[in-house]
């Protein structure tokens, strides 16, 4: 059911990446500035497609919106210590993957309150940490990992070079047998090699 929302009773259908649809109240949806900008005044024919996000994530996001419908106007994030028990449970029961998906969906839907709480939560994970601890939190590769990665890449590049050289030799022989004019032969071989080498490197 879709219609221009003027009352909190109005329900909207939301479509997830799986193609599933589910209901969300107008009041909850209006916390999304993206929704307000796109659909509030013009309405929507059929389900609203938020198909970059899966059903579980969207349901989690709108669960938060439904819960905070009656909360006072948002005026900046609360300190984590001031969060209600419900808020804390809401965050604590998410695993890291879901938490990240919720941040991304909340950011896309531009739900200021939820995005801010999530960001404050991440900032809290970083405070008081040293570099190594921070690297773990934000999942950066360590210097050793970077070094190892670089070595692997160097090996790959060297192997690619070898393969390209071999291929060039083979191509040269093949083209010569077909008695192509020399200039054309060289150009064809070069083009083939470049394509091969590039596709290899991209892998």
């Amino acid at each position: 059911m879709t219609s221009p929302a003027s009352s909190s009773e109005v329900k909207y259908l939301i479509e997830s990446s799986e193609g599933n649809t589910f209901d969300v109240s107008g009041a909850a949806l209006r916390q999304s500035n993206t929704f307000n900008a796109m659909f509030l005044n013009i309405g929507a024919d059929g389900p609203i497609p938020f198909t970059d996000y899966n059903e579980a994530t969207l349901k989690k996001v709108f669960e938060y919106c439904e819960h905070s419908v009656n909360e006072e106007n948002y005026s900046g994030p609360k300190h984590q210590d001031d969060l209600s028990k419900w808020d804390l449970n809401f965050f604590n029961e998410m695993d890291q993957k879901m938490f990240i998906d919720v941040i991304n969906a909340s950011n896309f839907l531009d739900i200021e309150r939820l995005t801010s709480y999530c960001c404050e939560r991440i900032a809290r994970m970083l405070r008081g940490k040293n570099t190594q601890e921070m690297i773990k939190v934000i999942t950066l590769p360590t210097a050793e990992e970077l070094e190892a990665k670089q070595k692997v890449e160097e090996k790959k590049a060297a192997a690619a070079k070898k393969v390209a050289e071999k291929a060039a030799e083979t191509a040269e022989k093949t083209e010569t047998l077909e008695e192509l004019p020399v200039q054309q032969l060289v150009q064809t071989t070069r083009n083939k090699l470049t394509r091969k080498y590039l596709s290899f490197s991209n892998e």
Partner: protein, 517 residues
């Protein structure tokens, strides 16, 4: 959680919840986090004015990032046997092999380092911060008399307290990496000998504290624009040489101002020093010229201006004497008085002529104005008794007068003031006195009469009335009085209709009247 994969709006929000110290540590994590923070948080750095490296005793270095509302300090201290607690990690973009680590147990934000590698470590920190915050802010070096600071690149201002037994070469070495500085201040145990082409003498603004040593060489070889020397002695011949070289266009082409204060070490004879200098004087004897300019300093909190950070202070001189430079006709005021020698160009500084009218110095002054404004006369009057007839005053001027007297900032000689604005103006006493701490006599039935005599020096009707005297009586009566800050001097004040009266209790005749008797 892959921070770098979040949209930049989310990253910015996360950084927005972090203070400087965690952000700095986060920037140590990788080049990408550093660049990300630098780009996204640039708007937060916009209020930063300066970063200062303060080198103190025992190789401690205090580093402060400051703006009007920003104070992010941290410090580094050398590793000792008592402080073995270290977290080995890359900090300030320096490799792990560099001997500096975050101190894990000390309160505050601090690092420990190997003092044998001080130059390397401090330069590494400075390079990191310079890249992080950019060149739009000022970078300052300050040192106490315990040790000389290392030479760092991209430094704008330096203040060094020279330790005992420092050689000129050692002092000079502090400026090798940043030879062209905006401001240099030299204090401490400094005997005045500098290297021949010293970078110190090329600083745009140079302040030197000499403690009785001779500053002749510094003055004669200074290449910058503003020079101040405190507690410094000069040979008369040096002052003369300076003035002659400037006048004859042979030197000091960059110099805009010079202030020498020789404290108790040397007195100068102006007549003698200026006798062959073709000194000019302003046309009218009552005129003087105020020449003022801004002299650089290390940043300081100016509490008078709402604790805003200031990087210069006002300096100036007042004089009637000036020199004209040969060939290009540039003028410069010169003042030689007791222990001071001051010199300042007119066209590179702010100049204001002060007409010290002799009228303002009259002991008793009476002015008949017929409706004209007397504001300026009131504010500039310097002596004891002032009377206005038919003069018009802005309310703000009356308030200013009362406030300046009360706060002891002016009118120290004034014993009485009478204003009668006739039909030209009426005054609202309650309004004018509302912001001033006016007292009232304790007993409501009493009123104070204050009387004085105002001189008359010319024949007038009044002379006929009071022919036996060269003065006539004046007075006021009021229950209101003010107490001057600082010395507790009391003065009665009466503001009613067209009249404003003010008189000190001291220096006038006072008489209490009981209104019921």
């Amino acid at each position: 959680m892959q921070l770098l994969k979040f949209p930049s709006i989310v990253q910015q929000k996360i950084f927005g919840f972090l203070q400087f110290h965690p952000l700095l540590i986060l920037s140590f994590c990788s080049k990408r986090t550093k660049n990300l923070i630098r780009c996204l948080e640039r708007y937060r750095w916009i209020d930063i004015k300066y970063i200062r490296y303060l080198f103190t005793n025992e190789d401690n270095v205090y580093i402060t990032v400051r703006g009007d509302n920003i104070w992010w300090p941290f410090y580094i201290s050398p590793v000792t046997l008592e402080q073995p607690v270290m977290i080995v990690m890359e900090v300030f973009g320096m490799r792990k092999e560099t001997p500096i680590c975050l101190h894990s147990k000390r309160s505050g934000f601090s690092f420990i380092y190997d003092k044998e590698q001080k130059q390397l470590v401090v330069q590494g920190i400075h390079d990191f911060l310079f890249e992080f915050f950019g060149s739009s802010i000022d970078y300052e070096v300050e040192s106490t008399e315990h040790e000389l600071p290392p030479s760092l690149k991209n430094i704008n201002r330096t203040c060094i307290k020279v330790p005992v037994n420092t050689t000129a070469e050692e002092l000079e070495a502090c400026f090798t990496a940043s030879p062209n500085q905006e401001y240099v201040e030299i204090d401490g145990y400094f005997d005045g000998n500098l290297c021949p082409n010293s970078a110190i003498l090329g600083a745009q603004h140079l302040r030197v504290h000499f403690k009785g040593n001779h500053g002749d060489e510094i003055l004669l070889r200074f290449r910058g624009t503003r020079l101040q020397l405190h507690a410094t002695k000069f040979h008369d011949s040096t002052i003369s040489q300076f003035l002659k070289e400037w006048k004859s266009n042979q030197g000091f082409q960059n110099l805009k101002s010079l202030v020498i204060n020789s404290f108790n070490y040397k007195k100068y004879d102006a007549a003698d020093l200026l006798k062959d200098m073709d000194v000019q004087q302003l046309d009218r004897p009552q005129d003087t010229l105020h020449v003022t300019w801004q002299m650089r300093v290390l940043y300081y909190d100016n509490h008078l201006k709402g604790s805003t950070l200031q990087k210069s202070i006002r300096s100036g001189l007042t004089s009637r004497d000036y020199l004209i430079r040969d060939r290009n006709g540039v003028e410069a005021s010169v003042l030689i008085e007791d222990y001071d020698v001051c010199f300042a160009l007119w066209n590179e500084n702010s100049c204001e002529t002060d007409t010290n009218s002799v009228i303002y110095g009259a002991k008793h002054l009476r002015v008949f104005f017929k409706g004209n404004h007397g504001d300026e006369i009131l504010l500039r009057f310097k002596c004891t008794r002032l009377q206005f007839h038919s003069a018009n005053f802005h309310d703000s001027i009356i308030c200013q007068f009362l406030k300046e007297w009360k706060s002891n900032r002016g009118f120290q000689n004034l014993k009485s003031l009478s204003i009668n604005s006739s039909e030209w103006k009426t005054y609202n006493g309650a309004e004018l006195l509302k912001d001033i701490d006016v007292r009232q006599l304790d007993h409501p039935d009493y009123i104070l009469h204050i009387n004085w005599r105002m001189s008359i020096s010319f024949p007038s009707l009044l002379m006929f009335l009071f022919s036996s005297s060269n003065s006539f009586p004046s007075g006021l009566m009021s229950r209101n009085y003010l107490i001057r800050d600082g010395d507790g001097e009391k003065a009665s004040v009466s503001i009613e209709n067209r009249n404003v009266h003010f008189a000190l209790w001291n220096g006038n005749s006072c008489e209490m009247e009981n209104l019921n008797s």
